[in-house]
Symmetry: C3
């Protein structure tokens, strides 16, 4: 089976979607943050799927303009009323504690307590997700309805956490291919019990890694499971002289909700990854958005900083901040759908297949058309009949294979699916009418 | 009279349209194919209008990836029923025999015969046009209604044809101009009794050749009357080192039906011929289509193959395959209209006039405007009044004649007709305010 | 106060608009033409506002393709009926006499007189404005209603004018800045009692000159108060080797009517002035037009002639010839509005401020984002909240400050106001995160 055929082999979407959702469900209860045991535990589970390497970077390590922070670990946290009942309980939901809260154990009046409580009045049943990584604070998050039940009382507040020198932990998996040219796939692993943001991206990256391992590969693939921002900065700082191999990249975030796909272009705007995703989405036919780069969002901010300017885009369904459930307890296991996960998985595979098989050919018979008929490549009768799509793809591939047009260029100009043009080109190459250009100017 | 004025002189459209239609009617009964006496007879008639040279290329001659085929000639063909009546008769219509049918003389049952019969059920009164150039087959074409009248019987089938080494025949007419820069005009002559496809293109090329002979010419013109595909390949193979002179070109096909004009751009997409046709069509005001190049169609496929990539577009009215009558007996003398032929003729003349007179000038007084008033080129009163179009053309020609902008560039930027800008530039040149740039970067 | 803050300081629009209108009212009665005392008197008044230098160029001086004409001065003019009553009286309106009329003193019948009378039948109460600079003629202009009252009679016609060697007069004011790079501001001063065309432009130039004198300036500014066409040609001829310093320029004409703003691009079409005006207008939010260059109009014709091709656009409200009052007595002091003048003034200041502060910076921390939080430049809490505009501008300025993008480039790509990006960049520069690129490729 050819590489193209192997990549195009059908995927059992139901099975993939369910398996991804199961993995998400297993990871969901873990209390993750940008450092600490939650990330380690998450990577331990992922290592079952993907033979990733776990890296530990000591607190205090300078990374560009930043410093790796102290490690935060939490055992328990609660607010008890004067009767000793836990009115806010970390054991119920790890969102109840503001991430990176400093340890505390005190008794406070309701008024004192209130300035440390965060709610979402517009969604009175949801618990918000809050953090304070770089300012020493403590806080609790709870539903607005829960807050309303708290009366005047003396409250015992306890956050049994440690914030002390340790490590920043991340996972990396390098899957070698035929060349050292790399595709980077990155997902942030620093959010606690939130499904779409970003256990969806973590699961998608893991399943892609497993799938790609079984496929023929021109590219090598590097998968990063890293804490957002500081993790990306830490990784880039350690690998700043190695990133020249990166040809294409995707940040995966919020890829499991029921909304349609949104792709955010790389800073370059016309990188092959940008064109490949747009092409696949356009021919997939459904609703989708392709947006220009902007310097906000997830770790594409770092990969696309001007000193790197890597060809890395971001794939999401409904992007962060545009769904009400974002950074709340409503971004739960129900919010993430197996069908949406499977669709994101299939889209990524199609995009990577395009990049794997994009090539530039040179017509070996460039003056006039070759005689396709005697090679069995042409309609036999010369009269009028419905033109086959395949014939049109053959003609386009022959006409534009002048060494300057990649298969994607040809597909775009012809308004045809990449796959049609690829199959045509491979057929023509098998008949020695095209020859692959080993050193095209464009990948 | 200046060249511009000579080219703009009025054409008697009624007379031209009728004369073209008469020529088509004379050529219509001849049974043409890609080789054989039908093409020779056609060129003999055309030679009355245009002093063309007839070339004969032997069967078996290798031409790029192809070989010049055996010559096919047919004297008679029929299907007779058991009573000896011709139920299908080549003498009635040369479309009844599939082009390049191998000779046959046998008796067959209706069932055996049927697999060699072609009809058009969706147009039961029309005879389809079919060929089998490169696979040895035989066949008859007939109307679906005629087929229905054939009962069980023993049928005598006769195709009295020869398919044997001979020649491929084409006509070429070279009309020299002031320079060796060439305009190529090509029409395919390989179709039997079909009017629009392509006796319309043949007649248009012939009438253009005659008209251009009487006009002052910067360009030399090369007219090709060639069999489709194999004729173009044969000509290109013989002239592959001479085509560098070709500056502009048009394939003429299906130019006589009542539909609006369609122009198909060259592979380059922005060649001068592409811009010139688009400009003339836009300012002509009627409905028209300008389409991007695609590697299907007529001999633009060969002229625009990547090894040549010549600036050759295709002019049609309703393009092949988009009218129901295409490749059927309904593409007859009624389907081709004198008024449409005359309109195509006038359009070609306007396009060629633009290319002939497109030039780049250099303003001899480039700093500030020259004083047009003292040369009688300006409104005399300085106050407000309706600005004349001509004055605006003078100002545009002065402002953009910096040696980089051709008159077509200026007309496009000004949104004015090319003719207005040309007349303005020639007037300014007569006043020595502009001087023609003899060696512009762009033709 | 920083330069940016100084330029952004609020302008009292009411006061500026009224002051400009007062200046216009003072200049309105003066009978100006392309030469003569009217221009001198006008410059004398302007010199009170702006320390301009008055230049006198002798009649007969050759200037490119033109010659400085004789000087025209008029003391009185009238048409008297046989009873000695002035039925047309220059003392009532200087529009009554055709500009540059040759002197005359004769008695004529009504029929003889009529061929020298100009009216506007479509606006029977308005007096048209007419000139005949380069053909020796004389004429009177009057309302159509006034013409109807003239009966058969002997009329004494007197134009007490001189047309004799003298000078062409113009005013120039050079306001030096930190560099010798220049901004050119030009307004024509050759029209008599017409408000919008062009006392509005004259007043706007004068008030800008005064305002700019009080502001920190990177650029030097050159203000021209010149007769239209011949004045621009005369100035350009004298300074043809000095214009290389001109980086940006605006012709100001018809900037006081109640219509919306129209900007006409320079011949280059994408000069910084073109982009700056379009940017300011777009973000100002109101209705406006930005039009491509065309070689008609005011002195942009000369500045943008191909031998100069200066980056000079034209700012107007309703452009010349598109308002009924154009070149008639209805273009009076009522037609020019203080609010419109003030709006044009504010627009010019905003555009000039953009050009003054447009700069290219280089990110000093280009690999990954800098840690804004520890510099107090970031939202303190890491959770979700409304993103501040300022933060977005910081991120854009950091991401695109790679030495290739100017602040205007960044603002355009970000879809943000220039001012937001400028403030962000200056804040980042104050924190040494950006450094200005002293020699950017683009200004």
């Amino acid at each position: 089976m050819s590489s193209g055929a192997a990549w195009q082999a059908a995927v059992d979407r139901d099975a993939v979607g369910c398996a991804m959702h199961h993995l998400i469900a297993e990871l969901y209860p873990i209390c993750r943050s940008i450092t600490g045991h939650g990330v380690r535990e998450t990577l331990r589970v992922l290592a079952r799927e993907v033979p990733l390497v776990v890296h530990e970077v000591p607190s205090g390590t300078p990374v560009f303009d930043w410093t790796v922070p102290n490690e935060w670990n939490i055992r328990d946290a609660y607010v008890k009323d004067s009767r000793g009942e836990r009115v806010i309980d970390f054991q119920q939901s790890n969102l109840h504690v503001m991430g990176y809260s400093v340890p505390i154990h005190r008794t406070l009046s309701l008024a004192e307590l209130r300035s440390h409580l965060h709610t979402l009045p517009e969604h009175p049943d949801w618990i918000p997700y809050r953090t304070s990584y770089y300012r020493p604070e403590w806080g609790f998050c709870l539903s607005d309805r829960q807050l309303a039940t708290l009366g005047e009382d003396e409250y015992e507040v306890c956050i049994d956490a440690t914030l002390a020198p340790g490590h920043l932990t991340y996972g990396e998996y390098y899957l070698p291919g035929a060349t050292t040219d790399e595709v980077l796939i990155s997902a942030h692993v620093c959010h606690p019990s939130l499904g779409n943001d970003n256990l969806s991206g973590v699961a998608l990256a893991a399943f892609l890694a497993r799938q790609l391992g079984a496929l023929p590969r021109r590219y090598s693939y590097r998968f990063l499971f890293i804490p957002g921002t500081i993790g990306a900065i830490t990784w880039l700082c350690a690998h700043q002289h190695d990133v020249a191999n990166i040809r294409h990249g995707l940040v995966l975030a919020c890829v499991g909700d029921a909304g349609h796909v949104s792709y955010k272009r790389s800073r370059r705007g016309d990188a092959a990854i940008d064109r490949a995703v747009a092409h696949v989405l356009k021919h997939a036919g459904g609703r989708h958005d392709v947006e220009d780069f902007a310097p906000d969002g997830y770790d594409e901010r770092q990969f696309c900083s001007p000193g790197f300017d890597l060809p890395v885009g971001r794939l999401s369904r409904t992007p962060h901040g545009r769904f009400a459930e974002y950074h709340t307890s409503a971004d739960d296991l129900d919010f993430v759908r197996p069908a949406a996960l499977a669709d994101s998985f299939a889209l990524c595979l199609a995009v990577l297949s395009l990049l794997e098989h994009n090539a530039t050919y040179v017509n070996q018979n460039p003056k006039c058309e070759p005689q396709l008929g005697r090679r069995g490549l042409y309609r036999v009768m010369g009269g009028y009949q419905d033109q086959l799509v395949e014939e049109s793809a053959l003609l386009w591939a022959l006409n534009l294979s002048d060494g300057r047009h990649s298969l994607l260029d040809i597909a775009e100009r012809a308004g045809m699916q990449f796959e049609s043009v690829r199959r045509a080109a491979e057929l023509l190459a098998a008949h020695e009418l095209l020859r692959q250009n080993p050193n095209p100017a464009v990948p």
